[in-house]
């Protein structure tokens, strides 16, 4: 069984990919079939993922590979392959499970979209590509899937294609991540050159095994950093984080699946996958490349959580929180806590998908209103959404005991505490915890507590909401006109959307039980060790300290944000504007990099039109001068053809015309001179 699933691991990505292409070839009107196909594909992939997961449970440190030749060039073979190990298996299960929830959610969320089936095709395509990233045992296969994932992200961000802002965001995302991918590409080339293979594991010959690492030697730092560029782009790390908040232009399920739970985490996954490269030659677990990872992570995490404090778009807050959580994971990997980082990745996958879907549910219920200033008081109208959202918020803020996010964050803080280089990341991450609690509290208060602030929405009491829930969403856009202003009924989402929320909330809670220090099963599973049970480990000073911090953060948030409008905006308007405008990073890039390359493009065009062409014209002119000299070389045509400026043409034309005296003897003399010149040339060449 286990060998069968290893050789046929390709089925896991292939099933959603196949589903995607089948859906794409369907007519747009076959909506039910499309959704059904996508969901069935996802379920099949999930079942396969579980099948692949099971064998990894029996043996600690299980790793099975299947390599084969993709193609041969010259007499060399390019081999790729896939692998099954705890990391891949855990990721697969997470991706397929979260994906499944989001697919189901989308059925409700996208119900009245006219390109419904195309949406599911793209989603399936994404899912397949993402699973490809996870199972790859070759950096090349990983890169291939990586790019396909980027393509899917591009297509889905720009899904509402008639919106110019969506198209711009999609383009920005594609190009920004591609900048990182260039580094990744170069790193891959370098790695291939040094180690002679791109396979991670190949019975001792892979590039992550001893022989390969030995061959890589000192250049490992550069290779690792170049590969890290790819991760920076994909995971929205500073300085390439700018695309991720803009990517929220896509439909909310897309934000949940791609830009929160899976794709953006691929960067973290990549670093974890090639971790031997990063840690090669480590002294006390510290290498230059890992230090860079930590620095980038710290900057990203803090910056993003600060910006999140000043945003008003419900999805953008979550986007910045994603960026900051990814930074946190990078920090964890950088300080050596690989397992901790991956645990947080998976936990984050569950609860961030949950939060985004919750936000989607809110947006859906408010008929595509995203500004949190216009929300409020939704806890009565959307009880299920509120409850699950609160669970997600607890996870994200890092409340331990019942919430997986709390435990994983705990692990990360532990890892940072033991970093040899500097204690600074540890303290900054503690500050990050407070900030996270702050902005999440702010969001919850704005959205769900208090009373409705927007007159466009009529708050509906819980008693009425049942009828709304029963009805399908398409019928729910009932507009009541009062005072010439449309008044929408805010409503709880249909069951097809709330069920995924509940499932995800349960996942994020249940997952917590394999993360506790008392029984760190998941940690051990990832590290390939047997897990031990020790309840005394539950009592740790660190745990209580961070609990205090979280509580402090939430309490502070409650104190500050009880009163709306935003007190920070009132107290420090300058600072608030700075944060609200995303620290002006976008504007900075616009003014520097983008403008610069635009100018470069204009320059290239100008050079081409005038300089190079002019040079050619100059050469043509020299040719013509030679023609005048030899008095027989009729190159009037060259002039007419190449010379754009007609006056020059005419001048040369006259010169040449003067050479055509019509006298036979002049021509004859020119021929003689030509012969003489050839003679001289011949003599010179000897």
């Amino acid at each position: 069984m286990s060998s069968w699933i290893v050789t046929n691991l390709w089925l896991i990505p292939a099933v959603p990919l196949g589903a995607s292409f089948i859906i794409l070839s369907l007519v747009n009107s076959r909506r039910r079939t499309a959704a059904a196909l996508a969901i069935i594909g996802q379920i099949v992939a999930f079942v396969f993922a579980i099948t692949a997961f099971l064998p990894t449970l029996y043996l600690p440190g299980f790793r099975a590979i299947h390599n084969f030749t993709w193609f041969t060039f010259g007499d060399q073979a390019l081999r790729i392959g896939w692998m099954l190990d705890p990391l891949a298996a855990a990721m697969m299960v997470m991706i397929t499970l979260v994906g499944l929830c989001i697919f189901v959610f989308s059925v409700g969320y996208m119900a009245d979209d006219k390109n419904f089936s195309r949406f599911f095709s793209y989603l399936s395509f994404f899912s397949g590509a993402m699973l490809g990233v996870v199972i790859a045992n070759s950096l090349l296969l990983l890169f291939v899937s990586w790019e396909l994932v980027g393509l899917a992200s591009y297509l889905l961000i720009g899904f509402w294609i008639e919106r110019p802002s969506a198209a711009a965001a999609a383009r920005k995302a594609f190009i920004t991540t591609r900048i990182g991918d260039l580094g990744f590409f170069l790193g891959m080339l370098w790695l291939y050159h040094n180690s002679g293979t791109l396979l991670f594991y190949d019975q001792g010959r892979g590039c992550l095994e001893n022989a390969g690492l030995l061959a890589i030697g000192a250049s490992a730092t550069f290779i690792a950093l170049l590969i890290f560029c790819g991760a920076v782009g994909k995971s929205g790390q500073f300085p390439l984080h700018v695309w991720l908040p803009d990517a929220m232009e896509g439909p909310t399920p897309v934000s949940a699946l791609i830009h929160a739970a899976t794709m953006v985490a691929a960067g973290v996954f990549l670093v974890a996958r090639v971790y031997p490269l990063f840690s090669l030659g480590a002294v006390n677990g510290v290498t230059p490349s890992l230090t860079v990872v930590v620095s980038v992570g710290v900057v990203t995490a803090l910056m993003a959580s600060l910006i999140a404090l000043a945003q008003f778009d419900i999805k953008r807050i979550l986007a910045y929180s994603t960026v900051s959580q990814l930074g946190l994971m990078m920090v964890s990997l950088g300080v050596g806590g690989v397992a901790a980082g991956i645990m947080h990745l998976i936990a984050h996958g569950f609860f961030k998908a949950l939060l985004f879907l919750g936000a989607g549910s809110v947006i859906h219920g408010l008929h595509h209103e995203q500004d949190i200033r216009k929300m409020g008081g939704l806890r009565w109208i959307m009880p299920v959404t509120f409850l699950t959202y609160a669970i997600g918020m607890m996870n994200l803020s890092g409340v331990p005991f019942f919430f997986s996010g709390g435990w994983t964050k705990e692990e990360i803080l532990h890892s940072t505490a033991h970093w040899r280089v500097s204690p600074l990341p540890h303290y900054l991450m503690l500050a990050g915890v407070i900030l996270t609690a702050l902005y999440m509290t702010r969001q919850i208060i704005y959205v769900f507590l208090g009373s409705a602030r927007n007159t466009d929405f009529q708050s509906v009491r819980p008693a009425e909401s049942h009828s709304a829930e029963a009805a399908t969403t398409t019928e729910n856009i009932s507009v009541v006109r009062t005072d010439q202003r449309p008044v929408f009924h805010a409503h709880e989402s249909p069951r097809v959307m709330t069920m995924p929320l509940i499932v995800l909330a349960l996942c994020s809670i249940l997952f917590a039980f394999v993360l506790t220090p008392a029984w760190p099963w998941f940690h051990a599973y990832l590290n390939g060790e047997p897990a031990r049970v020790d309840f005394t480990l539950l009592i740790q000073p660190m745990l209580f300290f961070s609990l205090a911090l979280v509580a402090g953060g939430i309490g502070l948030g409650w104190l500050i944000y009880r009163r709306i409008p935003d007190p920070l905006a009132r107290a420090r308007p300058g600072l608030f504007r700075f944060l609200e405008n995303k620290m002006w990073v976008d504007e900075f890039y616009e003014q520097t990099v983008i403008t610069f390359s635009r100018i470069l493009a204009r320059l290239a065009d100008w050079l081409d039109r005038y300089f190079w062409d002019g040079l050619v014209r100059l050469f043509a002119g020299i040719g013509q001068a030679l023609g005048v000299l030899s008095k027989g070389f009729d190159d009037h045509g060259i002039n007419a053809g190449v010379d754009e400026t007609m006056s020059g043409t005419r001048g040369f034309g006259r010169l040449i015309a003067a050479a055509h005296s019509g006298q036979i003897q002049t021509y004859l003399g020119a021929i003689a001179i030509g012969m003489l010149l050839l003679l001289v040339l011949y003599a010179w060449l000897g």
């Binding site: 193609f71 060039f73 010259g74 198209a167 711009a168």
Partner: protein, 493 residues
């Protein structure tokens, strides 16, 4: 089966005369003859033994013994690849071209050009090769001159003079070599060059310069490229497809067959400069493309960029001192792949731009908007071509580029590192195109914009399927030229 190659060369010429002689059905006859050549190319492929490295299916007749000219044709992996590419591009180009006035002449000229291309790719003697090489130039000139868009006179003259001057330089250089060594045989000259007694003294540099100029203009290599945007922009769709799909390969082919084997030392001396030119082609061309507003011109610039990758690989293989065999094979395979892929992809892109122009008479990037709402199929298939061109994995463009970069990174790392920027700029250009053409609100030109028609699908679907096939299971293409790559890598090292 030795007569196969001759059949391939002669059949289009016969077709051209037949088309010229008949009053009607020019297009159908031309397509029928393309079917014949396609079958011929297929038979050639089948009877070609991929495991052997040398020339195969050689046909040899004495022609003008006094000047060492022979009728010597034969194929190795590279030639076969290009013959197949030519056989693919021409029928699609004929299908793509809407019937112009004077269709008879158009089809006849296209067929003659096709014959010339087959000849160029199979001839193994310089005189014969040069004859075919020039033979392709005249139909191309006439096709642009007669059926081109506005500014066609200027563009055609520029195209002709540029390439013709290059050819003259090359011819002179070769005459010099002939007088020095008395042979026009590619293989014989290669042997002489290998032992180091092809030429000596100043004359070597003159000959090198002549041949280099001729080929660099044809490819074109930066900064000899300025004829290309004008020519591609003005040429009618079918001709643009052929120019970029098949004709531009003649230059690269010439580099591989002539310049690199004959002048190894000169190339080594000029190595960094040549690599710089290739990198300039790669980086500057897409930048210039970014600044264009005419789609056809933009694709033309990107074509320069893609051929720049070929040049990078070739120069990396020959121009530097330390060269592991593995990397050379990678770079060469990449170049061969890229030749083929660029032929397919760029032709497809020109086809799509041609469709836009045919539908609305416009091809400015700002003339369209929101087409996705009206013509999703059109946009989808065109996006595939664009993604293939920007090197998305899973489509054909990626494999060639990956191998070129793999090979040349190991040999000339710094140049390759800069060249990677070309990938970014290409992506930026295509993103710009997609954004302004497909997305946003539907603008006036897009109203009642027809989606792909059935006859257009006959062109689009096979080509796109081929792109996917090469991108996912490229082995069938590698099989054609693997032994040739091994042999060539040995030759260059």
């Amino acid at each position: 089966m030795a007569w196969l190659i001759t059949t391939l060369i002669v059949a289009p010429v016969v077709g051209a005369f037949l088309v010229g002689a008949m009053r009607n059905y020019a297009r159908s006859v031309a397509l029928a003859f393309n079917l014949i050549t396609a079958i011929g190319a297929f038979l050639l492929w089948r009877s070609f033994d991929c495991s052997l490295s040398g020339l195969q299916l050689v046909e040899r007749h004495s022609w003008i013994p006094a000047i060492g000219a022979e009728y010597l044709v034969g194929v190795d992996g590279l030639s076969l690849l290009l013959v197949i590419l030519t056989s693919l591009v021409f029928p699609f180009a004929l299908l793509a071209q809407s019937r112009p006035a004077g269709d008879r002449g158009f089809c006849a000229l296209m067929l003659i050009m096709q014959a010339a291309l087959y000849g160029t790719f199979t001839a193994q003697n310089f005189v014969l090769w040069f004859l075919f090489y020039e033979m392709s130039l005249i139909p191309a000139f006439l096709l642009i001159k007669i059926w081109g868009g506005e500014k066609r006179d200027r563009a055609a003259t520029k195209f002709f003079l540029y390439t013709f001057l290059g050819s003259v330089a090359m011819l002179l250089a070769f005459l010099g070599i002939y007088f020095a060594k008395g042979t026009f045989d590619f293989a014989g000259l290669g042997e002489l060059a290998k032992t180091g007694d092809l030429l000596t003294g100043n004359f070597t540099w003159l000959a090198f310069a002549g041949i280099f100029l001729g080929l660099a203009v044809k490819v074109p290599l930066f900064p000899f490229h300025t004829w290309l945007p004008d020519a591609y922009e003005t040429a009618p769709t079918g001709v643009s497809m052929v120019l970029t799909g098949a004709l531009s390969k003649m230059g690269v082919y010439g580099f591989i067959r002539l310049l690199l084997p004959l002048f190894p030392n000169e190339i080594k001396i000029l190595g960094p400069w040549l690599l710089t030119l290739a990198v300039c082609s790669i980086v500057i061309a897409p930048l210039a493309a970014w600044a264009q507003s005419d789609l056809k011109r933009m694709v033309a610039y990107l074509s320069i960029n893609h051929l720049g990758y070929c040049m990078l690989g070739l120069f990396a293989v020959t121009a530097t001192a330390a060269r592991p065999l593995v990397e050379m094979q990678a770079a060469l395979s990449g170049v061969f792949m890229q030749i083929f892929n660029h032929g397919i992809t760029a032709a497809a892109l020109f086809y799509f731009v041609g469709l836009l122009e045919q539908r609305r008479g416009l091809r400015g990037i700002d003339d369209f908007g929101g087409l996705m709402q009206r013509a999703p199929l059109f946009c989808g298939w065109m996006s595939v071509a664009m993604f293939s061109s920007l090197g998305l994995p899973g489509l054909n463009g990626f494999i060639g580029e990956f191998l070129i970069f793999k090979g040349s990174f190991a040999i000339a790392a710094s140049f390759t590192a800069v060249a990677v920027l070309g990938l970014l700029f290409t992506a930026i250009v295509f993103m710009r195109v997609m954004q302004s053409l497909f997305s946003g609100p539907l603008i006036e030109t897009g109203v009642a914009f027809a989606d792909l028609r059935a006859n257009e699908k006959w062109v689009v679907v096979p080509v796109t399927l081929l792109m996917f096939a090469i991108g996912i299971v490229p082995q069938f293409l590698f099989n054609i030229f693997n032994s040739t790559v091994v042999q060539m890598a040995r030759l260059f090292s």
